[in-house]
Each structure stands twice: as structure tokens, then as C-alpha cells.
Symmetry: C2
């Protein structure tokens, strides 16, 4: 047995939350952790070395550690830990892969938080984000942190810079989040390919005016400013074409009182922010009606911004 | 005599401050009011209608109201006021036209604040910004508000949107500002023409990460984050070529402890933000040494962010 882990817990269960990346005007830099849905991950430290991954869900994700999002994140952590350690991992995913609600980030972030706990917390949050980004690379081919960071830090986060990594937590007033996941497939790689490599300077100026307004609105607890700033003139006009019902959901949600919203990550989920819970339930109805009418199956979630991110529930 | 102005002051003197537009990563949307330098404007309400403009400085600016920045702003105000009124205006400019320190904005903003005061404050701050923008149009052909808004509101402001006008005040910690105005000419119109109409999406993402970081740094009183966010990957690489000594000033200022800085407005002035006054004076020395060595005449200013904007000093 490894001496330094002798008095540490052998087993931990974590809740690892869904997240919304981009937040309309914050493409590639903003992300928000949700209270629901979340994955459950049970992680046991073994006396041997080696990683075993087991899924108790229907998604048939790979279990070889280097091909698995959680496994790749754990390998990145263990590479830096540089001492022998072994883990048995049981994952129950409730965030559907491909939903645009940060399913892969939840696996990666939950894994490194759990492993760090079982090893006596040798690593800080920024380290954990770095390790989890190795998991995102397995999922999408890109080491991005806009879902990972809110999962690890909780709340709303800004990735001011990815190289070097610079994560900024953004305090925010209470916000209700409504998300709808229409059961269609939008691959992150496709959603990225349809974007133009160049954008008009005048559009970029609008976008950075809006992200500045959104950050100011969050930090000043100014709901109206948050709402006015939730506008994306660059990404949404292109990507929303991949999501049937998008325009109707957005228009109807705002008429029902939502502050605003847009595509969650690279879609197909759509999210809306609301000041009040009652409005959030009205917005959920709008979303249901739109997809009932189109005839596409869907799931909806009415939830809040999750202030803590990955949570240890047992251990 | 106009009944409604019977009990109002007949004369007022205002200080109208210099300002820094763009603030590095906030091209066209951010602006900051300075405590120094400032113009002095004495405005008298006459019993007749008509506008008389007199300058007590060396700049030979036009005095016909519709060709004069202050005059055009006043005409815009009077158009909406829609009652007869006349003004005698004496302007002493201390902010050099063409410096990039918001000289035209100071004239326009000072004028409308003074006139509003003499008319019993019929207009709010956002109205005054709109009127003053008509003055900016005379100066540069463009109705921009990134210098006007901080002159009217004080402090640091965000123009989230210009149509419709959406001005956001940004609380900030104490900041010292050092500015150097090398005595060379950079026309706003030239500085605008050399910009590309399209930018790389990846550069735009860096820019909106930085403006989000800057706004968060200001509102969280996080000097280090402010410094890290003062980076411009789009405008500065192009425009700084018009300013001899720019790279040396920036490098030397940061080595002397400045948080960061860049081109003020469209130049040629360069500004740096500092946490401490002592560092600000060191940064001033750096600027002086650079332009002494190049052999270009210059003025430097060591000042602070002006929390109030245009100030009534008499009346």
C-alpha cells in the first residue's frame, strides 16, 4: 500500500454536473455549471495499479482508459502524480453524450475531482482543469476548457486565455436555466466546421460589446443588462440553422419572459436564462410546444446555476 | 425673457476632461475619463437667440456653430429643446486637438452639460450623450460615443450598443493613468482606414476573452486580472505602426510596473494604467526617455481616472 494514501478514503462518489458553454456572446470563453442534470461517478482506489472503467448506463461509451473521456483525464492526472495508483470507476451518465450540455466535461471533471480527493488533494483546481482538458481532447479532438472550468469551479467562468490557462470566476445573481435537448445529432466537429474563419470587424465589435455587457450585468446583478447582452451576431446565425425550431424557441421564450439565451455549447440543446422560477416553467412549456409541433422527441430541464460544480456526495 | 428659465443661472463654467477611448481590448466600446488635462468652457445664456463661440487658445478651431464641435452639439440639444435660447460660449482648450485624448469629445460634452445646467436640466445623461455625438460627427465624420460617454458619466464606461444607445458604467478600483502625446499627426480617419474590415475568428475570440477579463477585473478590483487582460491582438498591431516609439514605451512601462496600456483612441497618444502613483511617475520617465531619444517633442500627463466627468466649477 502506498504510504502517503494510508489514511485517505478508499472510495468516493461524486455528482458531476451538466454545463452550458459559450453563453451566447461568449463563444469559446464563457461557461456555466448547472444544478441538473448530473452524472454519478463512484471511484475506488485499489491497492494495485491500473484503471478499470464500468458504465451502468445505455450509452456504450468506450471503457479502455485512453479512449474514455474520464480515463484520459485520469491518466493525465496520474502522469503528473507520478506515483503508483489504481482505480475502479463506475460511471452512471445522466447527461446524454452529444446533447451540447457538457456530457464529456462532466465525465472528465468528475473523474479528476474524485481521484484528487482519494489521493489527499495534491492538486489545485487549475491543475484539475488541465487534466480534465485531456479528456475533452478524446471527446472532440480539441483541448477546450469552457465546460470543464465551470464544472470544477462552479458557477459561471471565463476562460480569458487558454494558453496560458487563465480562469476567471464570475459572481452572478440567482438565475434559473431552462434547457431543451431535441433528440437530433449535431456533431461538435461539424458545428465547428461550418463557422467562417474570418468575421467582420463590425460584428466582432458588437460581440465584444455584448460580452462586456454580460460580464458587467452578472457582476452588477443587473438582470436587464444581462438580457440585453445575450445577443450573438457571429456564431448563432450560422449554427442555429442546424437546429430545427431554434428561432421559434427563442422568440417564444423571450415573449414568455426569459432574459435571453441561445445554443448550448455547439448544440443541439437550447438554453434560456430567467430571473424567476415561474417564468422558467413558462419557458419550458414554450419549448415543449415547439418540439411537440415539429414532432422531434426532446428532454427539458428547469434548473439553476450550480454554484459549486462537481460535488462529493459520499466519501 | 423665456419664463421657464427666469430663475436659472445665466452663466456657468465647466471643466471638461480628456478621455481615453478603446482601452486596449475594448475597441469602439470602452472609454475612460481622465482628471487631467481638461478644457475650460464658460457659457452664458443670452436674452437673444443665436450662438456665439469664442476661443481663447491657439488652435484656430472654427467658430461657426454648425462647423464647431461644441456648436454642433449645442444645436442638437436646442433642436430637441425646441424653445428659443441663445448662448455666448468661451472655450479654452487645454486638450490638444488630434492628440487622441478626446479633445473633440471634451468640447461637445462640456457644451451640452453647461447648456443643460443653464436651461434647468431638462435632459438626462443619455440625452446629453446623444447631443454630444453630433459634435463628434463634425470632428471625425462618425457619431461615436466612446469618449463622450465617460465625459458625461465619469469613470469608465461601456457602449454596449450604439444603435440603440446602451451605456453601462463600470465601477473600477483606483487607477493612475500616464499618457504621453508625441507631437506627430495621426488622423482618426487614416487610423480607421488602415484597419482590415475582416478579422480572424480566433483573434476575435482572444479579444472578447480579454475585454471580458478587463471588465471582470475592474468590477472585482483585481489589478492583476486588469493587467493580464490589457492585450489587443487586432487593432494595436496595425495602428501602433503609425506611432514611433510605441513598442519601446509599452515594453519599458511594463518593466517599470505598469499594469498595461496601449494606444489612446486612434493615437498618437499612448496611455498606461498603474496601481500606484510612484509607479506612474516611473512610467512617465520611461515615456520621456523614449521620445527624448527619438527626438520627437511630447507632453506627458500623470493623472487618475476621473470619477465625475464634466464638472461645474462656477455657476
Amino acid at each position: 500500500m502506498n504510504q502517503s494514501t494510508g489514511n485517505l478514503p478508499k472510495s468516493v462518489t461524486v455528482q458531476s454536473p451538466a454545463s452550458v458553454a459559450n453563453l451566447v456572446c461568449g463563444f469559446d470563453v464563457l461557461g456555466m455549471s448547472l444544478s441538473n442534470p448530473y452524472d454519478l461517478m463512484k471511484v475506488e482506489r485499489t491497492d494495485a495499479t491500473g484503471i478499470t472503467i464500468r458504465h451502468t448506463d445505455e450509452y456504450q461509451l468506450p471503457t479502455a482508459p485512453e479512449q474514455n473521456v474520464a480515463g484520459a483525464a485520469l491518466l493525465a492526472l496520474l502522469h503528473e502524480y507520478a506515483r503508483p495508483a489504481g482505480f475502479d470507476i463506475t460511471i452512471t451518465k445522466c447527461i446524454k453524450p452529444g446533447s451540447g450540455l457538457g456530457s464529456s466535461a462532466a465525465s472528465a471533471a468528475g473523474m479528476v475531482v474524485a481521484a484528487n480527493h482519494l489521493l489527499g488533494a495534491p492538486f489545485g483546481k487549475e491543475d484539475l482543469v488541465r487534466f480534465a482538458m485531456a479528456g475533452e481532447k478524446v471527446a472532440s479532438g480539441v483541448k477546450h476548457a469552457d465546460n470543464i472550468a465551470p464544472c470544477i469551479y462552479g458557477g459561471i467562468t471565463l476562460i480569458r486565455s487558454i494558453f496560458p490557462l487563465d480562469i476567471v470566476t464570475l459572481p452572478a445573481p440567482r438565475l434559473f436555466v431552462v434547457a431543451v435537448h431535441p433528440q437530433i445529432e449535431v456533431k461538435t466537429s461539424d458545428a465547428r466546421q461550418i463557422l467562417r474563419k474570418e468575421v467582420l470587424l463590425k460584428d466582432a465589435i458588437k460581440q465584444w460589446g455584448n460580452i462586456a455587457g454580460l460580464v458587467a450585468g452578472l457582476l452588477k446583478n443587473d438582470y436587464s443588462l444581462i438580457g440585453r447582452s445575450l445577443e450573438d451576431v457571429i456564431i448563432e446565425p450560422v449554427r442555429s440553422m442546424l437546429i430545427p425550431g431554434f428561432a421559434e424557441v427563442k422568440k417564444g421564450s423571450k415573449e414568455a419572459g426569459a432574459l435571453g439565451g441561445g445554443i448550448s455549447g455547439s448544440g443541439p440543446s437550447i438554453f434560456m436564462l430567467c430571473e424567476q422560477e415561474g417564468i422558467a416553467h413558462e419557458v419550458e412549456k414554450v419549448m415543449q410546444e415547439v418540439f411537440n409541433q415539429i414532432g422531434i422527441a426532446y428532454h427539458t430541464h428547469v434548473t439553476t446555476v450550480n454554484p459549486t460544480g462537481v460535488t462529493i456526495v459520499d466519501g
